[in-house]
Subunit: 421 residues, 2 copies
């Protein structure tokens, strides 16, 4: 894995390509970018065939141990790794610890173990078990074991310090096993930066992790709902300053477009794409504008008008920091009666299958009558829209137009849609 | 609509083609055949694109007023008919009264009205409202209004007689409105044969309906769970004898392969394809064999062995007449632990997307962890398998091998799998 940066803006935003991915080294991923979010290897609702009708999908698929751990025995018997078990097309496989769309209970981490939650309940992982799982899953790249329980407000300094220490110890143990495992030859490890909301601990965690032979860094404990954006930006900026320029930084648990933009400005390269899934599950469609080509005024005005209108009835949607299930100002709620006779596509001009074939009124009716196709169609659109946003983000960086993009995404109101709480 | 029969076996099974379907008259449908079952225009779980990767789909799509009635206002405003509203590809649209996969409460029919149940509750339809709906939906062909409440055991002779009378009166009123509606020019009407389990009433209903200017006949009140197969066959045989040879007969609410075969032998041409959906919803995969080509012995033995094995743990599945949610002997329950390390496709040799790309073990894991893709994949396979069965059925009829096919489907045990209760 090799990060080639073509542009770094004021020590913050980075534009580049992550090359040499996968065991063959044939794959690459543009940054800022995101990984393809999956449940047990599947993008929720979508077959691989449907998925691959979408253009510009990331070349890296994320799976999480919380989905996989309970199936270890079967995977061991299968022998050929998770990629083949899940019938995945040619893709780079990244294995993370937790599902970013599902908050974990806290209080279960010990000095020797972390826990993940599958459908059958909690599974406790020692380093030995964690590494055995990696050998079974056969990812190209995985997140090291980590104590990520310090994201909650009012976590004591002592607990935060312990989490940093534990995570470093886990990393050292994982690396030790890793280096001895022939099966894991060529597989990359990401170290995890912890430190809660305490600046010094974040810096210490970053500095210490950077000393280890890792391919990149996961920034944990900064997820949506854990803190306000100003503090998050301060912490990320302090952390990325400590990290080597030539290795990628993955911000875990952050997916909202405004938070992604702030993360990129603070030096983050990679994100997890669970946000379109959350939007789909609440029956919503992403409709924020990221088109900064010369004359998109009309379309943007149209979209903005709409989001303003939607906002009238859903003003509370954006305020609850702790509830990721609440809708944001980047989406419209298709269950709303206003869409029952709206015969336009979800987003005018969108090239996705859903927008080309169906109208809002039809989606509204599928949703209110609980038709099973609603999730499929919304997931197609939301996935296409979200990955389109990342494409626009890279283009804006390349053309020195990040500010313009920010204004579009934050609705040209100088950041009113940004969360200041 | 014109039925061209190429073969009639012993006054029972009929092989042929229904031509001149749709307003352009370009479409045709082979019989015995089935209509494409949908919820509000969508095959549950599948996009039109995914659906059309399946070969040999019926050219006729069935929608039901129970799904549509509550959306009449929006459809009226939309003006261009349901086919366009639902973004359907070029297809013939057939509109029936009730959803065959959802049993209706009884006790709500009056002399002047029938009721359908949407997501918002009961909707009472007079002939005027029923016909207004047809003008809005703009189907190519619809089922006339009917009092179908006499399928329950122990319905009195008086109630059955009333239902036959009412249904005939409804038909006359519908035809009167139909003939005066310019919008319905070229649209075909199917009359509904009622009569519960009383032979004389069935015969009277058939005879009287046949006197009206209808394009074909719906055989109502004979659905799975209403009576045993011997009685059903007697009634159907008596009814089809009264009906003109050159018009199609659609048996409502019957989808199990054994019951379809019995229906065909009694002179039925058309069925509704809700069965694969029911199988999908209970997490099962159709796996019965219908391959009667010269040397399919090995594959069949394999399948039979499996179904026998599955039967061991699921013997009760077939016995409960009244519960359509119970699994049948034509399917395997993929949630069963036996499949957790079964790395074969659902059906060896099946050409569907699911069987070509995934194994039983993966489906098992998707199901036990409630992954949203499970329904999509199962629906693809079950739909392909079911329509494949109808293709095999026509081929068997053409080649005088219906008996052989029956033995395959009923597992070569002289009908042990047939229900004799």
């Amino acid at each position: 894995m090799k990060l080639e940066l073509s542009r770094v803006v004021q020590g913050g935003s980075r534009l580049g390509v992550l090359r040499g991915l996968g065991r063959t080294g044939r794959h690459s991923l543009e940054v800022p970018g995101c990984l393809l979010y999956t449940h047990f290897g599947t993008v929720p609702h979508l077959t691989q065939d449907t998925l691959h009708t979408l253009s510009s999908l990331p070349s890296v698929t994320q799976v999480t141990l919380s989905n996989i751990a309970e199936h270890q025995e079967v995977l061991e018997e299968f022998k050929s790794g998770f990629r083949k078990f899940a019938g995945l097309h040619d893709t780079v496989l990244y294995c993370s610890l937790h599902d970013p769309a599902t908050p974990c209970p806290t209080g279960y981490t010990t000095n020797k173990t972390v826990s993940v939650w599958g459908s059958g309940g909690r599974i406790e992982l020692t380093v030995a078990k964690f590494m055995a799982l990696q050998r079974t899953v056969q990812p190209d790249w995985y997140q090291s074991m980590a104590d990520g329980e310090t994201w909650q407000k009012n976590t004591s300094r002592k607990r935060v310090r312990k989490s940093v220490d534990r995570t470093l110890a886990h990393l050292d143990e994982c690396l030790l096993v890793h280096q001895k495992s022939q099966e894991l030859e060529g597989v990359e490890v990401f170290g995890v930066v912890e430190g809660g909301d305490i600046l010094e601990e974040r810096v210490r965690s970053a500095r210490e992790t950077a000393k280890r032979p890792v391919a990149g860094f996961c920034l944990d404990g900064l997820q949506t709902g854990s803190m306000d954006q100003i503090l998050r930006t301060q912490l990320i900026t302090a952390v990325t300053k400590e990290l080597p320029e030539d290795k990628p930084r993955l911000l875990q648990g952050v997916g909202r477009p405004d938070e992604v933009l702030a993360g990129v400005e603070a030096g983050v390269d990679l994100f997890e794409s669970f946000f379109p899934f959350q939007v789909t599950e609440r029956g919503c469609a992403l409709c924020f504008s990221f088109d900064i080509s010369p004359d998109p005024e009309r379309a943007v005005l149209e979209l903005d008008k709409e989001r303003d209108a939607a906002g009238e009835t859903q003003q509370n949607g954006d305020l609850n920091l702790d509830d990721q299930t609440q809708m944001t100002s980047f989406e419209i709620n298709l269950k709303d009666k206003r869409y029952q006779d709206d015969f336009r596509p979800l987003v005018e001009g969108c090239g996705c299958y859903c927008c080309k074939n169906h109208q809002r009124a039809y989606l509204h009716h599928l949703l209110v009558t609980n038709e099973l196709l609603a999730g499929v169609l919304l997931m197609i659109h939301n996935t296409a829209h979200y990955h389109g946003f990342f494409g626009a983000l890279r283009e804006a960086l390349a053309n020195d137009k990040l500010d313009l993009l920010k204004r579009k995404v934050l609705r040209e109101r100088g950041g009113q849609a940004e969360r200041k709480d």
